[in-house]
Symmetry: C2
DNA sequence: ATGAAAGCGCTAACAT
DNA sequence: ATGTTAGCGCTTTCAT
């Protein structure tokens, strides 16, 4: 930068201003500086800027894994929104591990991110404390919460689970099953599913849990296990579409006709859900919008447009009834 | 840090050493410093460290979009590998746009990333020049190249396309079609596909191109357009599984029996490819491994283990023959 | 509209 | 094994 200043015959601050607040510099001066920048191929060191200004223009985001299309879509939406506003995205994967989440939060705070995005609303007290102490905007997404760290953008996983149960029961299912990953949002869906089933007197749900991240094979194996234990099963809720697709595959292998023999519902509405045979009934989550909304909320906050926006943003969900249930 | 030093009764450097090279500090001193760090809840400012040492421990990665599961998987593998080695991942999406790629490269260099990962081997001269000038390790992935910027980790897209053509021809297809996204790697696959077809005298390939990122619907619509123009089409190559799944969907709607009426092959082997009906013949790319390999190569380089490793790493591909072709 | 001075919080290089 | 000094490349604040 000193070089650019010398080349343009101005002080270093002026170069700095041309970069971060061009309109505060006289057009002639600005042109000279810009020419010098171009001539020297100068790329400002943003870390030095961060150090001096204590604003990094980096947002940190944590997801369990990118291998699940729904989280990848959320990050896609987030990344586009942030990028358009001049923010960079630092990404971490927790692998559904609390200790890893805490480690990453530390690392990101060490980098002085301007804001953090977390997946889910269950976090260790360490994470909550560190984030609070950092004093930066935090968005938790993919669920709702009564005690958000700061802001929440999501939907009610229990309500979604309940909606699926009501649908299966309405179409006449009597013996319900559930296949889900061992993680919090999946448990919430199960809880809602159970409560709604109980309301009409069905208190027995056959449950099969798998280690996240869940695979198509997990879904197939789990359904076979479920049917082995409970041959009369006629209604199945899978906590995500990947598992549901696997369950459909198991049905084809075993000639269990869907939805007659057994009705199956998934969760999240992957693009392939509509293309499966039979087409998958599922709960649509607008994963990408979730990320976009998170991003624009954060950008507003960071711009200081502190409009007293609510702490909880419920984006809802939608039961998409196709052929499988 | 000054606070920690005072609290522990040592100089600031000592605190610095406890953090970055603990073994160079006497156990007693170290314990005192660690206690002080814990007491004050001190989180070192990594940007200051970057500025002073000119090592950021950040790797920048650029993909066209995360909404394609194959790229998301590559980033997943990359992220895990880098994270284990103490590196953070700065992520950007180019949206298949060269200008956006260049903008992001600038932004990442400005952040003084220690290394860069790019998708594909076609980049503007500006990008090449900037990266060269930055003097950092660069890995281009998802293709091979004769003139890599630095290192390449991928496979031959043309060879993969040729393999698909040979397979379709071997099973008796006579009138070939291709559906692909308008982007370079897809074109490479088409090129290989065409060349292999020509070798046995078939020089006519009906082509339908779509704007990336490609969707299931794109695949369905494209096949219908293709068949409208060329009713005798009996062999189809889709440049990715998403498009192929859409094509299968169109076949079901129109009662075109697969593979008898028309054989269909996809690309990348998404988990759902095996679950589709009929099961999709495709080319398996180990997307996740591709990211892991990229990460470990980079970590080696950054550690200075400059072992004269080759510049081009061909991870290959595998034709997976299922039911659809 | 432009500049001078000071300092952000670390690490490198050289002592001791 | 620990400390001293200098400086990384910016932005801030206050002048002019």
């Amino acid at each position: 930068m000193t070089d650019v200043a010398r080349e343009a015959g101005v002080a270093r601050v002026t170069v700095s201003r041309v970069i971060s607040a061009p309109e505060s510099v006289a057009p002639v001066t600005r042109a000279a500086v810009e020419a010098a920048i171009a001539r020297l191929g100068f790329v400002p060191n943003l870390n030095a800027g961060t150090l001096a200004s204590s604003r990094s223009r980096i947002v940190g985001a944590l997801v369990p894994t990118l291998s699940n299309a729904w989280f990848a879509d959320t990050i896609d939406g987030l990344s586009v929104t942030l990028s358009a506003a001049g923010y960079q995205l630092l990404l971490g994967q927790t692998r559904y591990d609390t200790r890893e989440e805490e480690r990453l939060v530390d690392a990101f705070i060490g980098r002085r991110v301007d804001a953090m995005v977390l997946t889910g609303t269950q976090h260790s007290s360490g994470v909550r404390a560190k984030l609070q102490r950092a004093g930066i905007p935090v968005v938790e997404c993919w669920d709702l919460s009564d005690s958000p760290i700061d802001t929440v953008v999501g939907f009610s996983n229990t309500a979604a689970g309940a909606a699926v149960a009501r649908h299966l029961l309405a179409r006449g299912c009597q013996r319900l099953g559930f296949i889900g990953a061992q993680e919090h949002r999946s448990s919430q869906r199960l809880q809602g599913f159970r409560e709604a089933a109980k309301e009409i007197g069905i208190s027995n749900v056959a449950v099969q849990l798998v280690q996240p991240p869940s695979s198509v094979d997990d879904g197939a194996r789990s359904l076979e296990a479920l049917i082995a234990a409970q041959p009369a099963l006629d209604g199945l809720f899978c906590s995500n579409d990947t598992l549901a697709l696997g369950a459909l595959m198991a049905c084809r292998h075993n000639k269990w006709v869907v939805p007659q023999r057994i009705a199956i519902a998934g969760f999240s509405d992957l693009p392939v859900a509509a293309a499966s045979v039979p087409a998958l009934t599922t709960v649509r989550i607008e994963s990408r919008e979730l990320g976009e909304r998170t991003g624009s909320l954060l950008v507003q906050r960071l711009r200081g447009e502190t409009e007293n926006s609510p702490r909880v943003h419920d984006l809802g969900f939608k039961l998409v009834v196709r052929e499988s249930a």
